[in-house]
């Protein structure tokens, strides 16, 4: 009799596309293979659906059947390493960079990065938004004040129109022709716990990045104005405050 360890190793290889493991049988042994296929399908199908739920825009861009086949290749190369499936799939954007059949869609990896950031924002830790009074007090000492941002916030820059492509491929949207161009997006979770994606102007991108890197409010605003004379910190700060992504930190008075 083989050990349970050897049994599982053979079974795992079998469900990931390998041969029928030795020792698997059925009342009618001729049916062992077709019955084993149930496990193979469960594993590959359920993981494919989990990946699609993480990357719905990629699925829409390439189509369901293509996505399912691509997901199968991805699962075989990068099976989840933990039962927390919501944390799986970070390797999908780099996988798309090298997966030969999608090399004609160069924007795909960065659109996937945007979708992965959305999932991270959804599950990110909770944090208490700053009150308007506390924010006003901070703004009064802008040269020293550092704004702490909600753990869900990230900024993603791309040489492709990732925001526009993402937005026009939402369930109730219809894609229209688009001249590809660089775009930067912010991904965050608002007060209602909904994930938002913002298209950032050049100055806004510099400002948010500077805040995330821990620069003072003043330094961030100066850098943003240098990059984009039209940048208006008041407008963006009001939007950030409304979404609740400026949070209390130890340095908050």
């Amino acid at each position: 009799m083989r050990s349970h360890e050897a049994f599982q190793t053979a079974f795992r290889a079998g469900v990931l596309g390998g041969d029928l493991p030795v020792g698997v049988t059925a009342r009618d042994p001729a049916e062992a293979a077709v019955r084993f296929d149930v496990y193979r399908n469960n594993v590959l199908h359920s993981l494919g659906r989990a990946l699609a739920s993480r990357y719905p825009v990629i699925e829409r861009l390439v189509g369901e059947a293509f996505f399912a086949a691509m997901a199968r290749a991805f699962v075989q190369a990068h099976p989840p390493q933990s039962p927390m499936l919501f944390a799986w799939g970070e390797e999908f954007p780099p996988f798309l960079e090298t997966f030969a059949p999608v090399q004609g869609l160069p924007y795909l990896p960065d659109v996937a990065r945007l979708e992965y950031a959305r999932g991270r924002a959804y599950h990110a830790a909770d944090a208490r938004p700053l009150t308007p009074e506390a924010l006003a007090a901070l703004a009064a000492s802008a040269d020293q004040a550092r704004l702490a941002l909600h753990p869900s916030v990230s900024v993603l820059a791309s040489s492709h129109a990732i925001y526009s492509i993402w937005a026009m491929n939402q369930p109730d949207s219809t894609p229209t022709p688009l001249d590809d161009h660089p775009e930067t997006a912010a991904i965050l979770r608002d007060r209602a716990l909904e994930v938002q994606v913002w298209l950032l102007a050049a100055g806004e991108a510099v400002f948010l990045r500077a805040l995330l890197e821990g620069h003072s409010l003043l330094a961030a605003a100066e850098a943003a104005l240098k990059a984009d004379p039209a940048f208006n910190p008041t407008t963006l700060l009001a939007r950030m405050q409304a979404a609740g992504i400026i949070i209390a930190s130890e340095e908050t008075p």
């Binding site: 496990y39 989990a50 390493q81 039962p83 924002a121 716990l193």
Partner: protein, 281 residues
């Protein structure tokens, strides 16, 4: 010991949250898949906190891989412990199955041969879970599609022995009994006659799909349909023997509108009510 109420419950789906808040349905409990609530924060925890305030809670794991040859994932056990501490569920259950091997998580409840070796492994793992969580757990009978040359112990006997050695309880999935016995051309009633019903702390009822093989039907436990009629009949027979038990309707794929799920729970509740009357009579 804290227990789920002996009433009908349903598996919680986030898409039903608004309906649940609006309807405040009269349900015995909600059950959640533990792994979906292991993120740091956000909507999943906000919904679960609100739900927990109003209902009894069953924490149901799908990723612990109790039937695996290698040791349990200690980090995963810690995450389970953190959920138990935070939400104080009335029950924790897992499966007689494996899902991880060599670091890979395969996202399915995979079967194991029933042998003295796997029996001792499963008992060690159940002991370890009960120790780590500081409570008795329930172990669920699986739905299976294949048999193994190496198996030497009938499933019901295997489960009875796990209960005897570890003191754990059992989660009797009546749909799994129907699916497995149909698939292996054996008798569900015979299986239930051998099953240690006295250890059952919860029942699962779910839907299955049916395919056709040369030798007859192959049922697939997909949790994607209403509970089938023969499963209702078996459930009623079990309740007639055990009296009312916490009984869950699980529907995880092609999730219907909440009232459809609730209708199955109402039907389960009627059978439980009959069990209560019979127990009094």
């Amino acid at each position: 010991m804290i227990q789920l109420p002996a009433a009908a419950g349903v598996g919680f789906k986030p898409e039903h949250f608004a309906d649940i808040r609006a309807m405040s349905p009269d349900l015995g409990f909600f059950e959640i898949h533990a792994e979906n609530y292991m993120g740091a924060g956000g909507a999943p925890h906000a919904m679960l906190e609100a739900l927990r305030a109003d209902y009894a809670l069953s924490l149901h794991g799908v990723g612990l891989s109790i039937g695996g040859a290698r040791g349990l994932d200690v980090d995963h056990l810690k995450r389970l412990r953190a959920l138990v501490d935070r939400y104080q569920p009335e029950s924790f259950s897992e499966h007689l199955a494996w899902a991880s091997h060599g670091g890979d998580y395969l996202n399915d409840l995979l079967p194991l041969p029933y042998t003295p070796e796997t029996l001792s492994l499963v008992c060690d793992h159940v002991d370890q879970v009960q120790e780590a969580l500081g409570r008795r757990m329930l172990l669920e009978n699986p739905a299976t599609y294949v048999l193994f040359h190496d198996s030497t112990i009938p499933e019901a006997e295997f489960l009875r022995e796990v209960v005897r050695r570890t003191g754990c309880g059992l989660l009797l999935d009546v749909n799994n009994v129907f699916v497995s016995t149909t698939n292996h051309r054996t008798d569900a009633r015979r299986y239930l006659a051998d099953f240690p019903l006295e250890a059952v702390g919860e029942i699962h009822l779910g839907g299955h799909a049916e395919e056709e093989l040369p030798s007859g039907p192959l049922l697939i436990d997909n949790h994607g349909a209403e509970v089938a009629e023969p499963v209702w009949v078996l459930f009623e027979e079990v309740i007639a023997r055990t009296g009312p038990l916490p009984s869950l309707i699980e529907w995880d794929n092609d999730v219907p509108a909440f009232p459809v799920l609730l209708a199955d729970a109402v039907r389960a509740e009627e059978i439980l009510r009959k069990g209560r009357v019979d127990a009094v009579a």
